[in-house]
């Protein structure tokens, strides 16, 4: 019996059967379950609960605030692990500047505390407790030097203590923290009322879509015309994700999977359209870019099909810009070594190959000063996520 794969996005449902993939625009007046049943109820009746697999990116994910001792080790390692667990980083705070730091206004799902190799003590003090009094959070986890764990546990309620993410040789050891964050994320998805109902139609665990996509990456080159190193840019309604080969980064992190992921929470083309436009208007290349695309700034205020295509081109540009050497705040990818860009998500239903190519040409020429661009692969069927799910079904059966 074949499987039915379902991806619940913030804008679309995608349903994959042997016969192909269909997309359904979501009705935001209905809850997810009713909407899905309404649109695809007939299909479900053909499958047993055991053969239906669901992943979801509809809930936007968890948020974290990271407090660490230094940029090069504590914060860098924790950021990397959080990104790879699918968590959105709201802010990072360098511990020696905590006095001047502002507590985030929003509720934080998990605060991560880190600093020092095992063997050193008294890294943290009263300043930390003072700061935490102004932070609203649901969970707090400590992954720094063993010697401070007791002191922190005595002073911070419900502090979860895990193994140090900084090894005695100053390398990263992400295992325990990654597992903890992934479980939190998973629990969050399962706990969402909307998602809970979906267990009425599946007997399998519901995963987050970014987790599934990350798991698909090692399988991509067998299924697409992709050459390493590559990046996958997933431009969705609310967020834009970029998954990249570790070969494109030079830093002191050794990761087990070979792939990393960055989430740009506010660069989606529907739900976060306003912030996308804001980011675009503040980019130094935007006017040149609009001129290159033969449009004026007014297009950003329009609601037309044409405006949507321009927005999508802008979001490709902005994502690449943010991971380029011009923007050192995020990771810097060596884009000049990039061989393939895979575009996936809602974008492939709207943009043509030529439109994607033209924006890549602009980026490579203007920002990197290069004439050749990487090979572009359009995942028109939005099939990438199905690889990670099929992998799951294969390993179980």
């Amino acid at each position: 019996m074949s499987k039915l794969l379902i991806d619940v996005g913030s804008t679309y449902f995608k349903v994959c059967q042997q016969s192909g993939i269909n997309q359904y625009f979501r009705d935001f007046n209905k809850d997810i379950f009713d909407d899905l049943l309404n649109k695809c109820g007939d299909i479900f009746s053909n499958y047993a609960k055991e053969d239906i697999y669901i992943c979801s990116s509809a809930n936007g994910g968890l948020s974290t605030l990271i407090i660490g001792l230094t940029n090069s080790f504590s914060l860098k390692f924790a950021k990397n692990i959080a990104f790879n667990s699918g968590i959105n980083i709201i802010d990072t705070i360098l511990y020696h500047k905590i006095d001047e730091a502002k507590a985030p206004g929003e509720l934080i799902d998990v605060v991560i505390l880190v600093g020092g190799i095992d063997g050193i003590a008294n890294v943290f003090d009263e300043k930390l407790f003072h700061f935490l009094r102004n932070v609203h959070y649901n969970n707090i986890v400590y992954v720094g030097t063993k010697q401070d764990a007791m002191f922190l546990s005595e002073n911070i309620q419900e502090l979860k203590v895990l193994g140090n993410i900084i090894t005695e040789k100053l390398h990263v050891n992400g295992g325990e923290l990654k597992e903890y964050l992934t479980n939190l994320y998973q629990a969050d998805i399962v706990g969402k009322e909307d998602i809970k109902h979906l267990y009425a139609i599946t007997a399998n665990q519901i995963y987050s879509t970014p987790y599934i996509v990350n798991r698909s990456l090692p399988l991509i080159d067998a299924n697409f015309d992709v050459v390493n190193p590559f990046i996958v840019v997933d431009i969705g309604g609310a967020t834009t994700d970029i998954h990249y080969s570790r070969d494109l980064v030079r830093d002191n992190i050794v990761s087990e999977s070979g792939f990393d992921r960055l989430v740009f929470k506010k660069l989606g083309v529907y739900k976060s359209r306003e912030t996308l436009i804001f980011a675009a208007k503040n980019n130094e290349f935007v006017y040149e870019l609009l001129a290159y695309l033969n449009v004026t700034e007014n297009i950003l205020e329009e609601e037309s099909e044409k405006a949507l295509r321009i927005l999508m081109q802008l979001s490709i540009f902005l994502v690449l810009y943010k991971v380029s050497r011009l923007h050192p705040l995020y990771v810097t990818l060596h884009l000049e070594q990039l061989k393939t860009v895979v575009l996936t998500g809602g974008i492939t239903k709207v943009l043509s190959y030529e439109e994607a190519e033209s924006i890549m040409q602009f980026f490579y020429k203007k920002v990197l000063g290069l004439h050749a661009i990487p090979n572009i692969v359009m995942d028109y069927e939005y099939a990438i996520w199905t690889l990670g799910m099929q992998n799951d079904t294969a390993s179980r059966s």
Partner: protein
Amino acid sequence: MKVVTGVVGNDIHVVANRLIDISLQARGFEVFNLGVNTSLEEFIDAVVETDADILLISSLNGEAEGWCRDLQFLRSEYNLREDVIFVIGGNLAVGEANQDDIIPKYRSYGFDLVFHQVDLNTGLDELERYVKERA
């Protein structure tokens, strides 16, 4: 004693770095080797994370000056322990240069010991003497 070491800036000369790592360990130091291509901020961050006693920077390609000028600034920025010992050695200028010019210059950047084109063992002997005197 804990020592953080590595090669500063865009410098990829790795041979001396390996020798330094081995020699320091043989002399009983606990070594944190950041390898080649290390920025000054990474060095200071490593001293903070390990609570190291000594930072020993090496530079071979002649570009150390540009990378090390901000030492005092970073040092105060992080409220580092007062007694951390800062050492630099290798080829500290481009081409021919006079010891009498180089040593005061690097001292003014905040280095306690400066070894321009000094053999490794001679330098490390002096470091150990310096550590003993300070104790």
